[in-house]
Symmetry: C2
């Protein structure tokens, strides 16, 4: 879907994706994973776009990770057949996933309880297919999953076997790595994630279970792992676009951030040092992920249309359809002259959250500003 437009004439607010940065980010992690000898199973929860998925897989069957069955259905419709739904399975998602499986999609489900093994087995029998499941391992206390040493690990494996569910392997996610910001700590988090995953797989194998997939992943650990022995695959999502939270963690520079929101100046409040724009939290999301980091970026950093950052200019506040630009507290930078009608580009705190506020990407390549395509995004569950 090609159309003639450019960033300066686009109705605002609009979500912009720079494929030059996107491709560079994709290549960076693909090369790393090839070097470390593991498969990359990108998480499509950030992009939610077939056009982005095809940028990773020009061939187009996967492997991918999804966060909703709406994503699973959508990517399956577009020919993807190897996917992992990385959210704990519930009775209604088990049934729906079995319909996908029946249609030939190798969808793997996540669980960590005997109850889930039971209803997943039942859903498989009802649909006449063999479900495939990964046991979730908790490597850092972040969220769900079983500790490596938990008695339930073998109980769940046994329940899968007795309920007719294939054990595809184990999966873990170093969610706590997002709170780190030094290379040493990130390397240690990656090694811990690896070690816990491998130990869980070894424990299952020692008990007589095959455990073909050993899946780890988070964007920070994917970029700081120095070895992945025993791991078979890496999952990461936000690495495609990057964002200010990942910049704060130390995984990327602001020049790597492929996603931005174009916005128009709609007013000013000179006595307060404010410039008002038409991108509020509806366009930027309510995500304030950098508030917990060393540098709080407000609701985002402000660039000109070519992507050059204005020194210390941030989105200091956001209402539903209003953003307030201001110079970062403590800085002596001057407020730029941006009259009503001027356009800016905002680098987001959290690409997954900002992307979710929009229906489509306006696609540009580097700094030239021509919009070469519109790529739709999907949403819902």
């Amino acid at each position: 879907m090609s159309h003639a437009s450019d960033l300066g004439t686009l109705p605002t607010p609009a979500l912009v994706l720079d494929t030059q940065r996107l491709d560079r980010n994709l290549e960076r992690l693909s090369e790393r994973m090839a070097r470390l000898g593991v498969t990359l199973r990108p998480h499509m929860k950030t992009a939610k776009s077939i056009d982005v998925a095809r940028r990773v897989f020009p061939g187009g069957t996967g492997p991918i990770t999804v966060s909703t069955l709406a994503e699973a259905d959508y990517f399956a419709e577009h020919g993807f057949t190897d996917m992992t739904y990385a959210v704990g399975v519930a009775p209604h998602t088990a049934e729906r996933a079995m319909r996908l499986r029946k249609s030939g999609v190798d969808i793997k489900l996540l669980l960590d309880t005997v109850a889930q093994a039971e209803f997943l087995g039942e859903a498989g029998r009802a649909a006449g297919v063999t479900p495939s499941a990964l046991i979730e391992i908790d490597c850092d206390g972040h969220r769900g999953g079983l500790r490596v040493e938990a008695p339930q690990l073998l109980e769940v494996a046994a329940a899968l076997a007795s309920h007719g569910v294939a054990l595809a392997g184990i999966l873990t996610h170093a969610g706590e790595s997002y709170a780190l910001h030094t290379p040493d700590a990130l390397e240690a988090a990656a090694e811990n994630e690896r070690a816990m995953a491998v130990a869980a797989a070894e424990r299952l194998r020692a008990a007589g279970y095959e455990c073909p997939i050993v899946s780890v992943g988070s964007t920070p650990t994917a970029h700081f792992a120095t070895r992945l022995d025993g791991v078979t695959e890496m999952r990461a999502g936000v690495y495609m676009f990057f964002d200010l939270v990942m910049h704060g963690v130390g995984v990327c520079s602001t020049d790597d951030i492929a996603l931005s929101v174009v916005s128009t100046v709609i007013g000013a409040k000179p006595e307060k040092g404010w410039i008002m724009i038409d991108a509020g939290w509806m366009a930027l999301s309510r995500d304030r992920g950098t508030a917990a980091q060393r540098v709080d970026q407000g609701y985002g950093l402000v660039c000109d249309l070519s992507g050059r950052l204005y020194p210390d200019l941030i989105v200091a506040g956001a209402n539903q359809e209003h953003g307030t630009l201001a110079i970062r507290s403590g800085s002596s930078a001057a407020l730029p002259d941006l009259p009503v009608g001027a356009k800016v580009r905002i680098l987001p705190n959290h690409a997954c959250a900002t992307g979710a506020q929009h229906e489509r990407y306006q696609v540009v390549t580097g700094a030239d500003g021509a919009v070469s395509a519109e790529w739709p995004r999907i949403r819902g569950w």
Copy 2:
């Protein structure tokens, strides 16, 4: 669009709207405004739904307030003709709004600069219509607008006249009232909003300008104003649904909150006191508006399917598609027994933000749990 379903069998996460509470909330403010002698111009930015709008206006032409031109187009298509677009006008929105005006919709635009008066006049001439504008007044330093005493107030009025734009009146919004929580402070904020609006209108009239509309509004001040002499209309949006932020301000009880998200339990972490659900920030939004209030409600309060609150159970954390339920810190309440597959209902922090994460409402009436209809929502700009 009627369909047989109930809250217990709905695929989750799902956005639920209780029309019993909705109607009660609508009636409460309509009655107040009738008593105070002003027109209610509801803000449709919260509901973004023609079905909700028709609940307020069974007749269906307005007056309404909108936050995007996508809303303006949508409500115009459904027969609404009297609307105010309450976000400062930009060149591209001026042109688009003039197309709506040309089609017979009395859309009023907001501005506070001479530059906006100029390009709005130009857009009107290009479209062959007379634009209509409200001058934004800053009553409490919250966001944009001119102070009553600002020299620009008369300059903008003069620019409107000389560029062929009709001055429809003035508009102000007591945005700072959201930070209050005592009846006295809220009454004072309402009286300040009223007084500033009336003073601005009087100043314009003294200078020879007609100023027919004197528009004030915010959900807190709408519910705490004791007199509105000189005001012609009140704008409010979140009052339809209410939410935990409004509960914290003191405008509603939790029993008034008409919006909730149904979610399914997908795991547990008993050693941490956690129950995992399938509603993360994608379903609840990243809004943490109660974090700045006296009682921090996390990402929401947890009810059973009938809407009864579990004592001190909150959504303590949220990832993209995972929510973590836990007992509020400092409480001795026990974690309820909610196995995998159990359903809960979450009352949201901010109805505007949570609603925006969903494509449709599942409509119920009171505690009976039968879903009587699906109402679509719109999004985008």
